[in-house]
Symmetry: D2
């Protein structure tokens, strides 16, 4: 099968997530990176392109020019990956959608709700695919957990507990990653809530299938001088009566990238942690807790769908990310990929951020989404 | 050294915590059980006493009679352990305090705030010791954690996360333990919040040294027909600016007795779980996480104070409980035991329960303690 | 029920295991310590007795005198606990057996095979009980594991892997515990093999029910100048065709008291570690691994027999040790205690030590027990 | 930079390790698969090639033809990956080496020692690179462990314990993977010892830097009718006095791919398990055990050399495998890759297999390598 052609906006030298997208696109052999506007700084953009072996003719100084030029080429890109800081998602995404090019975009969807809605409108108008890289939802055991919940294995869901805790911003820090994430002009009004809180929110929604009715959020910026939140506490009330708690932090010293989801229903509970993603604890009421493993005994169809190696050969973050690219390819080729996150998840995430910010400003008042 | 003489109110056949107190009292050889009013049912009381080998003359049908009779004996008890359902703590405790007998009482302090205050008044008037068995605070690594926090090893505390989750009440159930704990007349208005939420609250306060300013609580009774809460979500704001979350549940399927405390400061974080109590994770910012072990390298004076066996020989729940009895003995003999919980902790726990109930009734309004 | 009367030989000030025996004897309230020859140094013996509150008339300078005197008293001891260095087990045990007093003795049975056989002969002649404190066999999940193996839950056993690794002798050290354990005159010719290797051997035999046919052992003394082994590697061939490996070490830096047993059969496997004794992994072929917990779902009769607290309230080393004392009491009172280790296990341990030493001297030649 | 051109022998439909090699080659974007003799069955070979999108002109029915044709093309392959059953490694490797093409070959090196030596001779004569995919040696923390040992962080090594246990052959089974691995004509005389024992051996040697002096091996075929070993016990004596144990099994029910390495020296010990590869326990004598994480605090240069994502974003089996391909590319381009395994490691592995087989046949006699 021919590889699909991928372009990239952002992700030049010094970037983190751009490199992740490139590896993810390569893993399953469905994509070829052929074009890019890799930095807002043209010199850095071209140097980055050269380093990656791109045809210099397809290294652009500017995403608008890139969208136009690629749309005009007979061998133009099939999709673009947008891996810039949040405030650039909307202009870039809209430019490519309007040029008739599918978009794969990092989360959160945008820096502001208005931008998010503009992307949604552009996506709808374009008829093109818009994929949001909520990569944690693509871990095999997360896919399996979702299928188990949907099948009623947990009974009626009562409780959802999700936490995503890090410590890399525990002190005042600088550097490419920290700078834009703590700058409201580039990240949006949310800091931790937008950067990782949205992942936690998405994961909980993805697996539980529940919709938040109201939430009560208490946001803090613990590091003196920080202009965005670096710790987030939220109590959740779901439609239908389930309850939940969400904790996101970038100042919890001793934590790397500790995303964990626990769901408890009337019949069973499950517990999964991203840093040890090849196993999940599952307990039916009154029975011994089971350790379910990726691809192991008890695996469901969704848990087996993207099995690259047998159980015991740990797959990780990059493989889960690659599944998004594999499914994006399938979708663009006309197949189905019902678990792949898109505009809907992006808007839900933005509403979650907005509700948390609003609630926190009002002394953690209960706030509808 | 002569053993101290212990009496017991409650703890007859079919009881759980009475047996725990008796083992705890025996472990360090400081106490001898010599008298009891072991059940509110006189026949059961006497049968229980016989089973335990008590002198029949000191098996009482009634705690009031027992208090009077023991106070009158030249060889009367030094202290009484009160291990009844919550609503009986106050009458029993007051009877013994007024009789001039030290009291060791299970938590929570009482079923109502009025009862709690009456106990406090009686204790103050009596000049006798009142010890509240918040046993989890006596684990060696918890004592050590408290000392580390106080010494500034964690820097300034920013975050406190405590959870205490079980599943034994996930379905409607009956039996001696479940019945009184879900009956407001015997347990007080709080269910889960009183039974285990107070332990979580106490543990967090004990180690962090922080005082709650305001809290926002969301309590649920998930099991149909249940008259008290079985799940508790709380957001915490501490004096001085730290924040916290507390989750207590008796319906989280797959959990046994999962009490866990995490504290994060500006310099370091710690993580301890009751079901694996002989180790604690401790991480200084930018350094590898350390696994501190009971009595192992890095142990502080408080962590070493009650070392019955060397590291690697796991001690557990009963040994921590025994430390309370050893310290109670030391106190009664005129020594010091500054970490031993008493009336102050009991009142703090009652205020915590009351604030949670009030907050939850008012839609999780922020409530001062 | 009347408490049984216990005497103790050894276990004076500075001793380790004597204190463990005393706590273990107290935990279930079946025993009362009333007499002792607590040290081979009479001054220390009496000081230790005073500290423990023994009647000075029953603090003996000498075990022989004690055996005679206690046998003569109408209120003499029911049993004696022998907690001396290994070389004193035989003279003490024989003295008490000949005086008609039951013996509870620490392991290994003796310092030499000749002593061991003399004890066995004395025990047989006396008609008294002889109990050997292989305490690790009394953990509830170990009792359960044995029952599961016997019931065929694992199918036919193919593999037994046991390891017991520590690091406290990784460097040349001194002190009461280290001194006698590294002195062949007091410990016997085996060092690590006798001190902890026998525990590992006993645990494997206890659970698997298998008998060693031949073994090949490679013993080392890694610390310069050490006169006994401090590391032990053994390959095992069991009667019936199962195979095994045993590793015992006192120089494995980073290990506290890491005793672990794994058994694999045709149908299932299990995995238990002493430092986390309240859970055991159990996996049937082709099914998810289960986490069995002490007293939890799937517990067998033997796993429930000595349940002092519900699951989730961790019990440990002292409780397992206490089970031996509870069963010793039952036995002496005429009951049954089929899992309690005695002379047979002691002789088996001595034969194991001897075979390992002999094999190792002969370049790890296969050696029958 | 131009991608290097890769050919593949074996790895057609139904194969396992071929797919792993292809993903590994793609991850870092250094390789492009352009040619193959993907199966010994020509129809399957061409169908597999079509599925992978290979140019039909470069899908060969036969490796000999492929070596000749590719060597003749101006755009011929830079290297070939040989991923056949063991008995085909030698003929294929020699054909490509003689054609002047670098070889990347799966382990073990060959089915027989004679074949292994023939490969070695061909490699030496060719002046081409020969890379053996001992992929476990490329995990970042394993590279770091090796560097730490070499730097003396553990002191003088005393003990090496390595185990590699699985359960997939616990019963008689069939299927492409099982069939050739249990057929001596295709796997060589060793079964488990060759398939995974060599990985364990390589890992221990790679990290410890130690050379085995003599070994004593006890091999079994537990499954009735099996013609090769499925369980391996080995005691090791290293040059210089260190000792070790190795256990490899394919019948240890409940284990997936449980490769674990522990090394203990005079100053410190380390413990790493492949199924949880992003952390390693490290303990200096008398200090708390540290949890070292991939790329985290304390990481060494080698531990950081192939960091694709920050700590907390788990990398796994495929990423470690990819590091071999990245290093192979570097080597072929004239760079250095001193940790990359090659002919030396391959011959060492074959000598290890041979010594184990010989020792086991002679009742586990001590056997030099």
């Amino acid at each position: 099968m021919q590889k699909l052609k991928l372009g990239m906006v952002g992700g030049g030298q010094g970037a983190l997530i751009g490199g992740v997208h490139r590896i993810a696109a390569r893993i399953d052999g469905q994509w070829e990176l052929v074009a890019g506007a890799l930095s807002s700084d043209p010199a850095r953009a071209h140097a980055s392109a050269a380093e990656l072996g791109l045809d210099p003719a397809r290294s652009y100084a500017d995403f608008a020019e890139m969208a136009k030029a690629e749309a005009a080429r007979p061998d133009g890109i099939d999709a673009v990956a947008i891996v810039t800081p949040n405030h650039m998602h909307a202009p870039a995404a809209i430019a490519f959608l309007e040029a008739g090019i599918h978009v794969i975009c990092d989360k959160p969807l945008a820096a502001t709700m208005a931008q998010a809605e503009a992307i949604a409108a552009a996506a709808a108008a374009s008829g093109k695919r818009f994929i949001l890289t909520h990569n944690y939802s693509a871990y095999p055991l997360i896919r399996q957990a979702r299928e188990m919940v949907a099948a009623g294995d947990l009974g009626e869901i009562r409780l959802v507990h999700v936490e995503y805790v890090q410590d890399w911003l525990a002190e005042e820090t600088s550097g490419k990653q920290a700078d834009w994430r703590t700058d409201p002009a580039r990240s949006g009004a949310g800091g931790c809530i937008g950067d990782i809180g949205t992942h936690a929110h998405n994961l909980a929604a993805f697996v539980s299938g529940l919709e938040i009715d109201r939430l009560s959020a208490d946001l803090d910026a613990f590091v003196p001088g920080r202009r965005v939140d670096d710790n987030v506490h939220v109590m959740l009330r779901y439609k239908g009566g389930a309850k939940g708690m969400l904790w996101a932090s970038q100042v919890a010293v001793g934590n790397g990238n500790a995303l964990r989801l626990r769901i408890h229903g009337t019949r069973a509970g499950l517990d999964w942690a991203q840093e040890d993603p090849n196993q999940m604890r599952f307990a039916r009421f009154g029975e011994p807790t089971q350790i379910l493993t990726r691809g192991g005994a008890g695996a469901t169809a969704a848990g087996l769908a993207h099995l690259r190696t047998p159980g015991g050969h740990p797959e990780g973050y990059l493989e889960a990310f690659a599944t998004l690219y594999a499914e994006a390819a399938a979708l663009i080729r006309g197949g189905a990929a019902e678990a792949l996150p898109g505009i809907g998840e992006g808007l839900a995430g933005m509403r979650f951020i907005a509700a948390c910010l609003r609630s926190s400003e009002e002394d953690a008042a209960w706030t509808a989404l």
